[in-house]
């Protein structure tokens, strides 16, 4: 039974992340997702210390606040003092992440959060924290929270699908049609922050980025159609969750780490398929004796 709960929790994380990740990589915002996933840490730690509750509303607010802070730091460095984008991202999130680690060390034994948990979560402990209704156990708390998150993410994307797609693919046209690119960007980032926070306990701050970017990138290699890409990404994420769980059992290691490894293997396979298909189209590797001959007039 525990296996099932763990796998389904992982599947819930993978599914929400795959959907959001597909949009992230189309918008070239993968690294901003990475930054946010690192940067929510101090907010989570402070809220957790104050409320002594790992999954309450305050933790969500704390994480959202640090997400906002890191975005404004990036904006400050990039726009106000004209620092290049890569360095702006790098400085901002490492600063907040460092702050989070220091806070954990500082609160020490007062907080039941350890540094390793921050990095790769403890999905194996998910079944230990069961939710009760009346006298019956209805399953792990994490499972239900992640399920609610998935419902939220799916409905948010479903409602605004056309706008999200339009602003992801053609900013110029979206703007001329009166659709605010910035608003939908924040809408998406809101979803990313929320998913990061609720996934934090099970997969940790760094590995959530593997769930966000990996399956979406794999799917992107296999299809040119965006809708198909989202469903492929979800399928990839789900299969990685299942295979990853058993890999972790076999190797007696971290489940989140194992899933991330499987995600990497899936990507390599998709990459091989892609290269095989595009071998002749790629100009760098086109055979010297090109089938199209240019005749001099």
């Amino acid at each position: 039974m525990n296996d099932l709960w763990i796998i389904s929790t992982a599947i819930l994380v993978a599914t929400s992340s795959a959907i959001l990740g597909s949009f992230l990589i189309m918008r070239k915002m993968a690294m901003i997702g990475d930054a946010i996933s690192h940067a929510v840490l101090p907010g989570i730690v402070i809220a957790y210390f104050v409320t002594q509750n790992r999954t309450g509303f305050p933790v969500l607010m704390g994480a959202a606040a640090s997400g906002l802070i890191v975005t404004s730091f990036i904006q400050f460095f990039n726009r106000r003092v004209r620092l290049q984008m890569d360095a702006s991202i790098g400085i901002s999130y490492t600063f907040l992440f460092a702050l989070g680690i220091i806070l954990i060390s500082y609160f020490g034994s007062n907080v039941d959060l350890d540094q390793e948990c921050v990095l790769y979560g403890e999905i194996a402990y998910v079944p230990l924290d069961q939710l009760m209704i009346g006298d019956t156990l209805i399953g792990p708390r994490q499972f239900w929270i992640l399920l609610i998150n998935l419902v939220l993410v799916v409905s948010a994307v479903f409602i605004a699908y056309r706008r999200l797609v339009l602003t992801s693919f053609d900013e110029g046209f979206a703007t001329s049609a009166g659709i605010s690119v910035v608003f939908w960007q924040y809408y998406l980032m809101g979803g990313v922050s929320l998913t990061t926070v609720v996934s934090f306990e099970s997969v940790g701050a760094i590995l959530v980025i593997a769930f966000l970017v990996g399956p979406a990138a794999t799917a992107y290699l296999l299809t040119d159609q965006f809708k198909r890409m989202i469903f492929l990404a979800i399928g990839t994420g789900i299969s990685a969750s299942i295979l990853g769980y058993y890999l972790a059992v076999v190797t007696n290691a971290s489940i989140a780490g194992a899933i991330a490894t499987v995600i990497g293997i899936q990507f390599m396979l998709a990459f091989a398929v892609y290269r095989n298909k595009h071998k002749w189209r790629d100009s760098k590797h086109a055979p010297y004796d090109s089938p199209v001959k240019v005749e001099p007039e």
Partner: protein, 432 residues
């Protein structure tokens, strides 16, 4: 002991271990400042991030093979994994439609995930001597030993030599790779050398600051230094100094309370320095930019105010006596607030005097007034002559440029226009 005494006592090297921590942090952060300058200039800061996360599986595998925490072994493992990760990012982004940011995020997280997989496997297997391996994630400078510091010193010297030897080539590679290639620099080889020294720096740093925050050591010093200078040599020296200082201060802070990880404190100190530099830095810092803009605005307000006197007195031919603020407000085309500011500062600088309830220009004020009009009219003539603009199209352009023209440009314009007497509107160009 108070916190401060504790902090100071770090530098007295009272405990033998402290000396090791001091030198370790110093050597490590200094060399990252140096190497990070090139990644920064090449706009590849996030590659440093990838390498830093990706050394983890290398370290763990090296431990699995070697069965012990031999620094040399781990350094080799880390270097191989880090180098592989940069190759993977390049390969994915150049051979498929995947963009580089996605490739970076993917490689970083998958390598890290693999590292976590191997690390937890080692931990769960209860292998002897495994304790302390997880320190590579967050780093603990206090765990350094004299052998580590010796390795650091050797790596530092080697990397510094490489940088000195290839300085010109690296500089060219960072700023203008096409040109570098065209004059025959072996670009691929230079890139490999640069990535090898970057990887080596990261690999040696993870023990002290941990994989997650090592990237900050590469990115932040150069970014902070760039707010003080545009010159690459000065910037690199500054980056090294800032980084080394942050390394030592961070290590000292973490020394003051037990159980504090070193890496995060170094990063906090570094980030504070970068933030401070971005605010008060002499090169494009926020404060400096504000001051510059403020003094420009003031100069423009003064010149425009004084210029209105020229028009109101018909080029100082008439003497209508003191001019009241009301007349100035009505006749000059300036914004009210600008005019008020212009009057205030002109008076402060002695260009303007109050007489019988009106304003009179001092000798110097009159000179500036004429000078401004002169530049304005010279420019009008210049663009109407050389850009073939109609006389009624030249005013707005001249209105802006008159505040910027230096005496040198003015002399050049004069010569180019063969010392003209009148502007395109047939008005006399005043002489000063």
């Amino acid at each position: 002991m108070t916190w401060w005494q504790e902090f100071i006592s770090f530098f007295s090297f009272a405990e033998p271990n402290v000396e090791i921590v001091f030198w370790g942090s110093l050597l490590l952060s200094a060399v990252s400042g140096l190497v990070g300058s090139f990644t920064f200039l090449r706009k590849q800061s996030l590659i440093g991030d990838v390498i830093a996360h990706s050394v983890l599986p290398g370290i763990c595998l090296a431990f699995l093979i070697g069965k012990e925490k031999d620094p040399a072994y781990l350094l080799i493992g880390a270097t191989i994994a880090g180098w592989l990760s940069t190759v993977a990012v390049d390969f994915i982004s150049s051979r498929s439609k995947i963009k580089s940011d996605t490739a970076i995020a993917l490689v970083l997280s998958v390598f890290f995930g693999l590292g976590v997989l191997i690390l937890t496997n080692i931990q769960h297997s209860g292998m002897a001597n495994q304790s302390g391996l997880d320190q590579f994630i967050f780093g603990r400078a206090s765990a350094m030993n004299p052998a580590d510091v010796q390795v650091f010193a050797v790596v530092d010297i080697l990397i510094t030599l490489v940088v000195l030897l290839f300085f010109r080539a690296f500089k060219l590679l960072s700023f203008d790779p096409q040109f570098a290639q065209s004059i025959g620099f072996p670009l691929d080889l230079l890139r490999v050398i640069l990535s090898v020294i970057t990887v080596a720096t990261v690999a040696m740093g993870v023990q002290a600051v941990g994989v997650v925050l090592m990237s900050a050591l590469l990115i932040t010093p150069a970014a902070a230094a760039r707010f003080w200078t545009d010159r690459i040599r000065v910037m690199m020296i500054l980056a090294v100094v800032i980084s080394a200082a942050s390394g030592v201060i961070g290590a000292a802070i973490s020394y003051t309370s037990s159980g504090m990880p070193t890496g995060p404190w170094i990063v906090i100190v570094l980030s504070a320095m970068a933030l401070l530099s971005s605010l008060v830095g002499k090169n494009k810092g926020l404060l400096q930019a504000r001051l510059l803009r403020w003094s420009n605005d003031r100069k423009i307000a003064i010149e425009n105010t004084l210029k209105s006197f020229f028009y109101l007195t018909d080029g100082f031919e008439d003497d209508p006596g003191p001019i009241s603020s009301k007349t100035l407000r009505e006749k000059s085309r300036m914004h009210r607030a600008d005019l008020r500011r212009g009057i205030f500062f002109s008076r402060l600088k002695g260009f303007l005097k109050k007489e019988n309830g009106g304003w009179v220009l001092s000798e110097e004020g009159e000179k500036i007034s004429k000078e401004t009009v002169r530049k304005h009219r010279l420019w009008e003539l210049y663009i109407s002559k050389f850009m073939h603009l109609k006389p009624d199209h030249v005013h707005d352009d001249a209105e802006g440029i008159e505040h910027i023209i230096t005496p040198e440009i003015e002399a050049e314009l004069e010569e180019l226009l063969e010392f003209p007497e009148t502007d395109p509107h047939d008005k006399a160009i005043p002489k000063v």
